[in-house]
Symmetry: C3
Subunit: 337 residues, 3 copies
Amino acid sequence: MTANDPSSTSLQLTADGQLRHFLTLDGLNRALLTEILDTADSFIEVGERSIKKVPLLRGRTVVNLFFESSTRTRSTFELAAKRLSADVLNLDINTSATSKGESLSDTLLNLEAMASDMFVVRHSQSGAPHFIAESVTPGVAIINAGDGRHAHPTQAMLDMLTIRQHKGRFEGLKVAIVGDVLHSRVARSQIRALNELGAVEVRVIAPATLLPRDVESLGCTVEYDMARGMKDLDVVIMLRLQKERMEGALLPSEREFYRLYGLNREKLALANPECIVMHPGPINRGVEIESAVADGPQSVILNQVTNGIAIRMAVMSMAMGGQMAERSRRQEGRAQA
Amino acid sequence: MTANDPSSTSLQLTADGQLRHFLTLDGLNRALLTEILDTADSFIEVGERSIKKVPLLRGRTVVNLFFESSTRTRSTFELAAKRLSADVLNLDINTSATSKGESLSDTLLNLEAMASDMFVVRHSQSGAPHFIAESVTPGVAIINAGDGRHAHPTQAMLDMLTIRQHKGRFEGLKVAIVGDVLHSRVARSQIRALNELGAVEVRVIAPATLLPRDVESLGCTVEYDMARGMKDLDVVIMLRLQKERMEGALLPSEREFYRLYGLNREKLALANPECIVMHPGPINRGVEIESAVADGPQSVILNQVTNGIAIRMAVMSMAMGGQMAERSRRQEGRAQA
Amino acid sequence: MTANDPSSTSLQLTADGQLRHFLTLDGLNRALLTEILDTADSFIEVGERSIKKVPLLRGRTVVNLFFESSTRTRSTFELAAKRLSADVLNLDINTSATSKGESLSDTLLNLEAMASDMFVVRHSQSGAPHFIAESVTPGVAIINAGDGRHAHPTQAMLDMLTIRQHKGRFEGLKVAIVGDVLHSRVARSQIRALNELGAVEVRVIAPATLLPRDVESLGCTVEYDMARGMKDLDVVIMLRLQKERMEGALLPSEREFYRLYGLNREKLALANPECIVMHPGPINRGVEIESAVADGPQSVILNQVTNGIAIRMAVMSMAMGGQMAERSRRQEGRAQA
């Protein structure tokens, strides 16, 4: 899928350009990305109240459809949905109906027939949420909670929200993404978003064995040497070393990786003094990042977690809003016909 | 248990004839079955709203007590309870307290003492929900979500609702149930309901090896040849081939079964042109039913799923209503004494 | 930890002496224990309503953080939280993020960053809830749902509530705790509470192999012979034989234990005629207690379960209240500075 694949654009946007699914950042323009960030900002305040509830999805049924288990991601979507007042159904599909030999497509048709309003989908195969969005009944919103190596767009957006909170803008920023870009779900989405929102440079820092072949075509510069890569940075985003996804011997050793690409105080000192440090979690302390950096004054790692709930509330409520607007149009269309 | 076992009648009905448990269709007369269908009809509309909530069970505690796991059935009961505004507790008893050596009876007493209002029970042994209903504290409603080979009464009622929606009546209808009647939880309940509601003929179509010995005593005719069996049908209900329950070699092969009893377009063409096609799901495509039929214009399989939520909302709210009426009478009785 | 460890006192109480965590009964004075019982009494009535809800924790996020699974305990906390109108997230940590190599401390920081208001913690290691309470962000309340052999303070408090309901007072009561005190989470908490509330004698009855070395220093008398121990009792609390925790051959046999320390009708007849019988459940019938006693007129075992929900509602709402009061003070402090 290219950076502006028109099919995914028309799939996830209504004719008016409103979000109706949230599958990928591809094809979302600066205005829409900014609308997501602004909506999330309004939900940050909800998380600080003692009554952390808004009625936007009251009486709606949100199904967490996890074909690949991830307690952390599922918990954030579950909390986001509950704070929007939705009813939540958690389905771990590995252990469920498919064991009776039912196809994915039949499972989905059944869940739709139960009057579900939204599926939050996590799948180990790239494109699964797109496939579901293409086949789903009109009115049901699909949210991508991570698919294969392809995308993890709510993670990328919570990173953008965190950058905007701390830097106040994207224009002129120099941002680096460090580490296992090859196996990362989120790096592509981050590069796309940073470019669209106006960062002046997105730099990827990694050994050649952990970079995809087409990496420069994603809209970034490449740096193999971390010391050089840290220069002038405003934001450094560390990636998690996806040990469980490494298929062969792409790395000499964890220790060697840490020596070359792990973020410690010495390397961080090479960046701008206000450079913020981000990481999607869970952290491998001493593998990608030194504890003194992860817990240090430049780290905004826990802000990312807090922002994750707000971003999920934002895309869920916006997609539901888009679905409702489209439904009204369909009903008007039928009334006039 | 015979078709009109007086003990189960008095167990599941109040002195006034209201539902207080929902265990079996045995002993429920046409008026009560029709009341369930009418109540469910009113909940169909709730499922179409954006706010799919009614406050009928607000503040009530519903415990899904699944001694045999079934994600699909549990999900429909969970959604039904949440749309009635109940609090839901899911307990998978295989992995729970009984592993500490506690008896079923002690587990139940404990759950009752937690002020539960309703148990939705699924068990691999026939009669388990009856047993629980006999021993439970007054005020707690038991809903049968499938017990052994005995009954699956909410499934049978959602089938009745689907037939009434599409045919407008039961009088004069010819209905066939096709396939593995021997291992089916639902066939007995379906036959009972169809007879009570006025169907002119209930036909069972299956090889002799997949029929119980007493099948005709259930109130149906028997046909071994599917071509003959399809004649003049208004409704054909396919059963799932319960492969996991087959204990021996009751079938020559799946392919042979499909050739003889699988529903394809050719066989369906032998029925009335408006004949509807039903299946409880999950579908074994190419084993009991051809995809072109399952997805075709005569199929109402997904309507069954939608109706499943409405039927479950209906029996849950009616049983709770019966329990409350009985409680009021008990309190009045004590006040007068 | 000694009976009045000042560090745990200051950890779980605000400067004004309000509860802000609920970790142990150590350091809680009679006034505060009585306040918990009185608050629970007011929730007993909530459990008897048809709408079993109060809005005290509406919009709050309660995380059940179970490092050691216990369906029974988790269910009571889940119901208590839902009846207080909280949103509940159940996390079984054995099967979750820690499998990705994340430290406990990082998991907690992440959950706090999701704007959780309360962690209900169960852990196989003594002191884990204290450790968490020491490191948690201000504003988040920790409730101990059982840690190692150390404490299970909500269980002890539901026992106190049950005694007060049936005896009307603690002053002058003679109470025995019988059985496996060595492996019991709750015996220490019970002894502490009974002494603080004014019981005249707390007696421990067990073989020497099932008693901790320092048992008398806990504030109890010791009796090895059950017949002598039953004399003049107002309350007898049987402990569960923690078979799964016995590491060596501390007992000759279950049968021998039952003969010597099992509570049967003969032994119970040696106590006061109004002596009540308690057990934390799940019961090992015929191991610690005869069925005729467990189900007999002096048994209040099921009242304990009902009271368990009310006690959990009480400590959750009181700790949340303490956190909010403290938060207000912090904000005032900042406003004045």
